[in-house]
Symmetry: none
Subunit: 227 residues, 4 copies
DNA sequence: CATGAATGAGGTTTCATTCAT
DNA sequence: TATGAATGAAACCTCATTCAT
């Protein structure tokens, strides 16, 4: 009825480590897999634990992936915040540094975008509500912090940084999905887009967006004087 | 729901009509529903047909929704093409007209974005490959046509219009999903974003993007002279 | 993805037959089994059908067994009704005939009591409410009919027959469970009760009950003049 | 709930106390709950102990509830024994006193019938066999003692008291279950039975039974002269 | 003695698709 | 052509019990 495979994690540091093990296993499997969430059984196997053990650390399977997502975007924002706080130069330099870092980060952690593409909607369908609320709160806090850093670095009005971040996120997510759609269909990327690898495409699109957003803040609401 | 009781559709116009009936039923159900695809049984019921009959017109359930998606985005692009071809004035006027129309169209056909949010990834998982190829081809053709219209109207280099359209689509899709995530979690929209309804947010973001994209086409790849 | 094992039951008589097949399979398995409900997979296998097919005829597994129970007790009451309506003689003769038949019937259909011992409570935990209501209604109707037959046959006041039946049922059920408990524990029946097989015990107990119930209807509420 | 934080129970009186604590917790939870057995974790929590500790005092969860059942029915029989030994008067008086006390006792300890309704069958499925044997032995002994008291008090032949007790128990159990079924289904009690609360119904039925049983001991086997 | 982390078996139901009628 | 009965894969989480600490 039992084994004694995994040593019991009594100390809280051991417990944290085990939690991390599970997250890592989930991330590995998701990266390897086809785009849908691995099963709980697979995660347990990969983590070297029993199925039941997984549920000692996470209340539902989705909670695992939500944690991964939170962690992933948290790191992105952390990095962005630091960059904006430390980079010296004019706006263009700061923005370019941020976008370069962002694109590089996302290239390195492609599972983040793959996971994100599921849509929080998928995860939310089966998450304990309190966990969901906690995640949203933490996510918002991080967003605000990085947004503030942007406001300061670029001398923007309060809240504008958050806005920029959200639209940056939206554009990133949308582009990724377009690329995924193309890849998933085993078809050449639509049109000549094929020639543009994702990282370059993303860089270009984001650059255009930030360029427009910072050029004429006053005009952003009506577009009457575009060009 | 109709009980048109299976008059056999021999003439090809009847067949087309029946196909349309099914598509309409699927759209209705999806609009009404919770975000996931209605079941084949539900579609058949709503269309007043038997389950088996649906499969005489579509090889998989996903094909139905892919057709809806193709049709929906096709209409968007059609409208865009016409607008760019007929609007007179400077770039700013044309772009503003396009964006206004786009946002209005999407507001009116919200099921399009809802369906789109599933990700083609979801639909692709279960679509006959040949149908997929055909869809992509048609989609690409329409995209190119509208892209060309943009190239002409705004005097851009060939292919730039397609690029702008794709990024416009990406930003739209990404923003929509962010809004959906927030709603789905039954939480207030992240940060003060709550104050911005989707249509306005979309309009602002797209305006910023087009502004940046058209301001300095030459600089789009490096961002060295942002601001 | 499919077989063509079972011929499609299109005619409603075929459908009824298939329903019966499933019920029979469930009964067989339950009789053979250890007292808990067989799994849906087992039932399908025994019936020579696919798991999914079972769910075309019953909405939940429990519904199957509830149907068995309804049918079983229905037959008991049917038989009782007929007996009371056709037996001639004095009260004692009629009651004795009824009890004899009842005991014999239950001996022959021991799965009925075994199933009953689960308690409707077990089945109710997972039954469509409308089915539950329908069952109760049918059960009540049959009970009333047999009760009326008793009222007439024994010249009792209206409703007394139902009362007698319910208490007869209660005593039967309770005794059966006591016997089951003893058997299940692989222990000799408690005390010298071992010498009394269930049928005899039941017969004796019921005879005593009916004897008491019919002896002094007026005194039944206070017992002041027992003996 | 108590957090008595694990003072090690060395002395055997402490151990007995802890055993009682667990039993009490189980009873409380069962009374409060929905009819199925509380989980081991819940019991431990309610008792202010760790899950593992519970298993130092009971080998299986079912053993706990079996103990509760044994204790409960033991008390009932104890009370019955005393009553028969102390009540003075004729048979009718003694029986009436017994039944009155029985019904009152069961009304006060409704968890006993609720637990009983699970059927020993449920508990037996997972009880150490030796414990089961011990319980049965103790149960039988108590039954015999009370049975003897009845034999003496009512001047019955040896063993008749046990028989009466067992049938009394069966009728009680069966009636209770019928009432539970009706309640569980959220439907009005079958037929007009609704008007009779359980205690009254039980009293009536038992009175009738004892009346019949004591009226004609010689005739109990054939019922030839009922009425 | 006490603790609580780890284990892993177990079963229901839905639904896309097919094919006998 | 139209029908709708038949198919069967797929995966979550709970919870009694054990044993390392």
């Amino acid at each position: 009825m039992k084994k004694q495979n995994a040593a019991h994690a009594h100390a809280s540091e051991d417990k944290a480590a085990r939690r991390t093990t599970i997250l890592q296993a989930a991330k590995t499997l998701f990266s390897r897999g086809s785009g849908s969430l691995p099963t709980a059984a697979e995660i347990a196997l990969e983590a070297g634990l029993a199925k039941g053990t997984v549920y000692l650390y996470f209340r539902t399977k989705e909670e695992i992936f939500a944690a991964l997502l939170l962690e992933g975007w948290g790191a992105v924002m952390e990095e962005g915040q630091v960059l904006f706080q430390t980079t010296t130069g004019n706006r263009a330099v700061k923005v370019a540094a941020f976008l370069t870092a962002l694109v590089a980060h996302l290239e390195k952690h492609s599972e983040l975008l793959r996971l994100d593409a599921l849509g929080y909607g998928v995860l939310e369908r089966n998450m304990p509500h309190d966990v969901l609320v906690a995640h949203k709160a933490e996510y918002t806090a991080r967003l605000e912090r990085t947004g503030s850093a942007i406001d300061s670095a670029l001398r923007l009005s309060a809240g504008r940084g958050v806005e920029l971040l959200m639209r940056t996120y939206a554009l990133t997510r949308g582009l990724w999905q377009s690329y995924q759609d193309a890849e998933a269909s085993h078809l050449p990327h639509v049109a000549r887009r094929a020639a543009n690898p994702f990282a370059r495409e993303l860089r270009e699109a984001l650059t255009e967006y930030w360029h427009g957003a910072l050029a004429s803040p006053a005009s952003s609401a009506n577009g009457s004087d575009v060009v």
